[in-house]
Symmetry: D2
Subunit: 165 residues, 4 copies
Amino acid sequence: MQPVMTVEALREFLRDGFPQVMGPDSGFSVDRVGEGFVVMKLLAAERHLRPGGTVSGPTLFTLADVAAYVAILAHIGPVALAVTTNMSINFLIKPPPGTLVAKASILKLGKRLAVCEVAIAGEDDGTTVCHAVATYSIPPSGSNLTFESRSGEASYQVSNSKNPL
Amino acid sequence: MQPVMTVEALREFLRDGFPQVMGPDSGFSVDRVGEGFVVMKLLAAERHLRPGGTVSGPTLFTLADVAAYVAILAHIGPVALAVTTNMSINFLIKPPPGTLVAKASILKLGKRLAVCEVAIAGEDDGTTVCHAVATYSIPPSGSNLTFESRSGEASYQVSNSKNPL
Amino acid sequence: MQPVMTVEALREFLRDGFPQVMGPDSGFSVDRVGEGFVVMKLLAAERHLRPGGTVSGPTLFTLADVAAYVAILAHIGPVALAVTTNMSINFLIKPPPGTLVAKASILKLGKRLAVCEVAIAGEDDGTTVCHAVATYSIPPSGSNLTFESRSGEASYQVSNSKNPL
Amino acid sequence: MQPVMTVEALREFLRDGFPQVMGPDSGFSVDRVGEGFVVMKLLAAERHLRPGGTVSGPTLFTLADVAAYVAILAHIGPVALAVTTNMSINFLIKPPPGTLVAKASILKLGKRLAVCEVAIAGEDDGTTVCHAVATYSIPPSGSNLTFESRSGEASYQVSNSKNPL
């Protein structure tokens, strides 16, 4: 399973398309793309922490979701908008603050559904702190994903109006 | 299954203990407590939305997680800190902005594990837009949850140092 | 959400199409069909039990899967073959032998995906012993499900050869 | 994470304790034990197949459940009875008949909960056809698992009567 987008292409696409999640201050970054997988990093900042100093559940969910989405994007290209339909996420250990590394591996890339596994570990430690499996619905081919800048804020739209689900 | 905390007690507990999530501007609020369930609301604001105007996945995850946590808290009282160990979440329909209503119903309340089902719907429409089932680990009884204010920012700690998992 | 098949039509369809699972000695039966749900029963026999006398995990999985499948069938009719793509199942209490009642409620019935929730309880007791949420992929409309008898053993085939996933 | 039981010890334990699932005609066998994982095989026979000749969902569920259970057993020893509390299973491709290989890897082995990931592939092909993540509750230490033969049929019991959940 060969990726069709480079790390640079993914970064540009995400920066334009998802400025809230992937903006320069978001802490999220694409680190590596390989056959059937991507690696993303999150530099957990104050706002990502729960009292006690551990990274919050919603932050781990977001990292898993973004990493799986990027893995699919990297392998089908920016021509269609995958939509998360299901995620099962296991919180294994409370992660300390610092940089988290998420490896998202594609388990299935079908015409209509893609399934990704994500393992999140601390960068220093390497112990898996969180594990998720997510399913994405892929809209009918022919759907093109385009971005338009509107008053400095990007928005995306799918040219094919079919409801992907 | 009778609740042991009132709506008012839950609100106070959450405001003190989780100011980031449950603060006055968070949009989250406890609406109702009943036998085996709670109802929470989220007034989805700009920051909860994805481009296109639908409520983001991480926001729905947070609402489901908070509602399930509050349901357990309401029935075991503020004496122990339940920790999310697993959530399986299904995104059914992209929810429009506005007020979301989450009903969290307890499926099991054991000595060590609690399982909650959460259905999220739009307040006006009533159609379920998101459904989740979450498992929480309950620490050994005797653990007391206390809050201490430290430089204006609350933090919680469990007096019993046993790792709940 | 109105069902389009009666209890009798479902029974006949399942007896012909799935003789292994739904044959006269299987213990499974369709009990009731309503708006958005079906109720199935399983009379747990010796072969459904684990040592200790509780109903086995695979038996509960099968009951949940069959009930959800039948709920979808009841509402879209026998024109397409739904395929289980995901199930998240929680085992809450070890169920004693006897009759189990499974209520499968449709959470979403889309053009491509259906999501069902299943609660399984003992007939006498009523306490939920197992809870599952399952996703089914629905093949493109136009697919017709037909059965042909071959040496006394039914087999099904979808006339539309498109891979549903 | 070092295993504490050998392949031979696991085979003997399972044959005595779970004759229905692991008997000589069951098709299930323990193939390999390593650091943090086990490999099991299933030679899918007629009774494991659905019409059309693909391995049934309940059979894949059973294989995933048994493999994860054995992985935990191999690493904690036959002193406690782990109970499945949750499984999220994704059916990726309809598996053809033949031998299936399940690799169960431990993601977390805590005092109270263990989490295992299982990937199932065809022996010849190597493509993952099914993926599961399962959580097991581990009873309080001190619980001893013993088998007693009763009229030729083994049964197990936990000497510590505490409900593990």
